[in-house]
């Protein structure tokens, strides 16, 4: 009998250790220190892995990078581009040449000026596959990139630097070039700190684990493994900063929701259930914004498991997506049937809405000759309660129509490996900015944008769709363009490259003492205005 109690205690200790991350003894600045603005504590739902913007697709990475690095321009809460390092950017008449002018007062955290050379260097690193870049496709339209990556040129001929001014020549007209390098965020990298490193070692270099130079408002100070990453105010930042530092702590949403109420943290992405619960709590502000991101299930289509379009359609019918929005999201979202959605996305009125219909799902599976003994993994990075619940429900509903689904948890590194190995069945992921122009879908479906170099994660390829997207980019007549996109949307709707669940609203909670935080509808841009944050007391 006696033996049991130490174990009980141990279990309880371990259980509660998961609920509250202890105060960190070694952190320097604490709230209320000598007249300083204090430290803001923000929650990340999973541990970031790198400060390299070139090799990441993870939301947590992108958030800490937003503190560390400034991009040329950021996406504001209304979806518009606002200046960061760049003071101005404009295309020529036919959008084949862009001129980006940097501000004169921008410097790195070590005092070196940020110049057009840094921009040219950054574009080279992104365009060069030898750096492990996951974004080469986004830069492939710049003139001279092909020669550069083939080793026939020392620099990209289409990028010309004149002091603070950078001129970019494009191969094909691209009116969305600026947006394309704003979301996902493309921070500018310090040439003077990185030029000496071999390009192929960049991704794994110590610099991107513990960067010594930054350009964002708060720069890296130290890691506390499995706990947090600490930032201090950039002394050379162009604007005055109110905070002394920012601590980004890794907490799953349950814990973050508890700690926001105790005042231990100042910002957290929260679940819909908590939004209801916290909205009356004192000392807490609940923020929500209609989201432009989508939540979907992604499969390596070439693996064959979900290669048959009827299987993907069956899955759409098998999931009661409206109920997911109504219950798990408590109405904070909308069901979508095309990747690009919203009033301006030229979605035809007669798209298939894939109503919840398990019988139809079973029919489609039977037509496709689905083998009910095949195991299908539903992969998830745990940490966000809403997502975990969605996956539980989806797994149950898939089993009901005869798909033997099981939930598999991954950490960020494990999932990145699985994606690299093309070994994933149904990965839940949310990202993007798709409620504006329909051209935003292109990155996810074009044949030449396969992951890892592009963002076509599932390796979906339909040449008719590619042709339509190309035609649309080249069309200046709005009506014709809309007609082309309607056809493209119909194809995406029918082919289901991504099992679209819904477009969730962005939900966050901040402590009342934390000011200046503006909720961005794009979750990966949540720290877009960190320079304006401040804290009372």
């Amino acid at each position: 009998m006696k033996r049991i109690f130490p174990v009980v205690t141990l279990c309880l200790v371990a259980a509660f250790a998961g609920c509250s991350v202890g105060d960190d003894q070694q952190s320097g600045p604490k709230d209320g220190d000598s007249g300083a603005g204090g430290t803001a504590h923000v929650a990340l739902y999973t541990q970031p892995t790198t400060f390299s913007p070139v090799v990441t697709i993870s939301g947590a990475d992108q958030l800490v990078q937003q503190l560390q690095w400034d991009p040329l321009f950021a996406v504001d809460t209304g979806g518009e581009l606002v200046p960061r390092l760049a003071g101005s950017w404009k295309p020529n008449a036919d959008a084949t040449q862009w001129t980006i002018t940097l501000r004169d007062d921008v410097t790195w955290s070590d005092g070196e000026p940020i110049t057009g050379e840094d921009v040219a260097f950054t574009f080279e690193v992104y365009a060069d596959p030898s750096t492990g870049s996951l974004s080469t496709a986004r830069f492939a339209n710049i003139a001279g990139v092909a020669e550069y990556t083939a080793g026939k040129a020392d620099s990209i001929s289409g990028v010309t630097v004149d002091g603070q001014s950078v001129t970019v020549d494009l191969v094909n007209p691209q009116a969305s070039f600026a947006l394309g390098i704003a979301e996902p965020i493309v921070p500018i990298l310090p040439e003077h700190a990185l030029d000496a490193l071999p390009r192929k070692d960049l991704a794994t270099s110590k610099f991107f684990r513990e960067p010594s130079v930054g350009s964002g408002p708060y720069v890296f100070d130290h890691w506390v493994n499995d706990d947090k990453v600490a930032f201090t105010a950039n002394q050379h930042y162009r604007d005055e900063l109110a905070l002394e530092g920012v601590d980004a702590t890794f907490l799953d949403s349950d814990v973050a929701e508890a700690q926001i109420q105790t005042g231990e943290i100042d910002y957290a992405q929260i679940s819909a259930a908590a939004a209801e619960d916290l909205s009356g709590a004192s000392g807490v502000e609940v923020l929500s914004a209609t989201g432009g991101s989508i939540m979907g299930l992604h499969s390596a289509l070439e693996s064959g498991l979900l290669g048959d379009v009827r299987v993907r359609q069956a899955i759409m019918h098998a999931i009661d997506r409206q109920a997911l929005v109504d219950t798990v999201l408590a109405g904070h979202g909308q069901v979508i049937n095309t990747i690009a959605f919203g009033p301006n996305a030229d979605v035809p009125s007669d798209v298939d809405t894939y109503a919840y219909d398990p019988d139809r799902a079973r029919e489609l599976l039977e037509e496709a000759g689905w083998d009910p003994s095949k195991k299908v993994r539903l992969e998830i990075i745990p940490g966000l309660r809403d997502r975990e619940q969605v996956v539980d429900i989806v797994a149950g509903q898939l089993r009901e129509v005869g798909i033997d689904a099981e939930v598999k948890r991954f950490d960020q590194a494990g999932l990145t490996t699985a994606i690299g190995d093309r070994d994933f069945d149904l990965t839940i992921s949310g990202y993007g900015f798709f409620n504006g122009d329909p051209s935003s879908m292109a990155g996810r479906v074009r044949c030449d944008l396969f992951a890892p170099n592009g963002s076509n994660l599932v390796h979906y390829c339909n040449e008719d769709l590619d042709q339509l997207l190309e035609d649309a980019e080249a069309t200046t007549d709005d009506q014709k363009r809309a007609a082309i996109y309607e056809q493209a949307q119909a194809i995406v709707n029918r082919d289901v490259p991504v099992i679209l669940l819904f477009a969730p609203d962005a939900l966050a909670a901040t402590s009342s003492a934390f000011h200046g935080f503006e909720l961005n509808p794009l979750p990966n841009q949540a720290f877009w205005n960190a320079a304006e944050w401040s804290k009372e007391g």
Binding site: M1, R3, I4, V7, V8, L10, C11, A14, A15, G18, C19, D252, D254, V255, E257, A258, Q261, S271, A273, A274, E276, D277, D320, A323, L324, D326, T327, V328, P382, R385, E388, Q389, V391, D392, I393, A395, G396, Q397, R399, E400, E406, V407, K408, R409
Partner: protein
């Protein structure tokens, strides 16, 4: 001769049963535990409740006539999950403790009866295993191999057998020197024979106590691991998985039907197992009887 001794023991069993029944708490616990086991292992045969049936329209509904214990975050019936979850949790607890007891008995008897180098090596291994907190090692193993029932049972058994080992080894060390054993050895009895006819009857009482203690520990370990998200996959019904819903403050504050049933089931079962173990210990160990 040894058979005669066994016969004598059978005669002594009656007072043991009597001593057990004198332990009121143990008797009540034994009855309740039997009921729990019956519900958990045979209940699913009697009801049509499906612990896997999700229904988003029944999201986190409080108890009602359709769902006596309400529904969880995937609209699944909490009562059904409690029953099936008990099956999972108790299967893990019972199989891990039996495996640990078998392993501990085998190795403990080997060490105790053989002595010498074998004993030293095995005892040092036991010291090493016992110097680590089991939960930490199991978390590591679960993270490396992925949480599954087999992983949990194997890793728990691998870490919990030293308790049985120590009990059996100590008994063997004293038995070894007794005349009965020397005589049996003199007649050419081999180790398996000695284990069956001399060691087993002697240690079965303490071993049953160890099994109850370890079973209780393993039920708690499963709950702790699943609560932390490191145990069984999230959609497998188990008491620990059910309890993990309560990590959310919203659930903890407003939805007691999601965490009181599994919490009470874990606490109650572990207590009952311990009371029964207590009763058995007092019944089989005359020196400690009142």
């Amino acid at each position: 001769m040894s058979r005669g001794l066994a016969g004598l023991r059978a005669g002594l069993a009656r007072p043991a049963v009597l001593r057990f029944t004198a332990h009121r708490l143990a008797v009540v616990a034994a009855v309740l535990l039997t009921i729990v086991l019956a519900i958990v292992f045979f209940g699913p045969l009697l009801t049509s409740l499906d612990p896997h049936h999700v229904d988003p329209s029944q999201y986190r509904q409080p108890p009602s006539s359709d769902h006596p214990l309400g529904t969880d975050s995937a609209g699944r019936d909490v009562l059904a999950r409690l029953i099936y979850g008990g099956r999972t949790s108790l299967t893990i607890g019972i199989s891990a403790s039996l495996a640990a007891a078998v392993l501990g008995f085998g190795l403990g008897a080997l060490a105790g009866m053989t002595g010498g180098v074998v004993d030293s090596v095995l005892s040092r291994i036991v010291d090493v295993i016992q110097s680590f907190p089991a939960l930490i090692i199991i978390i590591l193993l679960a993270a490396l191999m992925g949480g599954s029932m087999t992983t949990l049972v194997v890793s728990m058994a691998a870490l919990e057998w030293p308790i049985a080992y120590r009990v059996v080894r100590t008994t063997c060390l004293s038995l070894r020197e007794q005349d009965t054993i020397r005589a049996a050895r003199g007649f050419g009895a081999r180790l398996p024979y000695l284990l069956r006819w001399h060691v087993l009857p002697e240690v079965v009482g303490p071993l049953v106590v160890v099994i109850t203690v370890v079973a209780a520990v393993c039920v708690l370990l499963e709950a702790a691991l699943s609560f932390l998200g490191l145990g069984l996959p999230a959609d497998v019904p188990s008491w620990g998985n059910m309890l993990s819903d309560a990590r959310s403050l919203t659930v903890l504050k407003n939805m007691p039907w999601l965490w009181i049933p599994p919490g009470a089931a874990i606490a109650g079962t572990v207590l009952m197992i311990n009371f029964v173990g207590d009763g058995i210990r007092e019944a089989t160990d005359p020196r400690q009887s009142r």
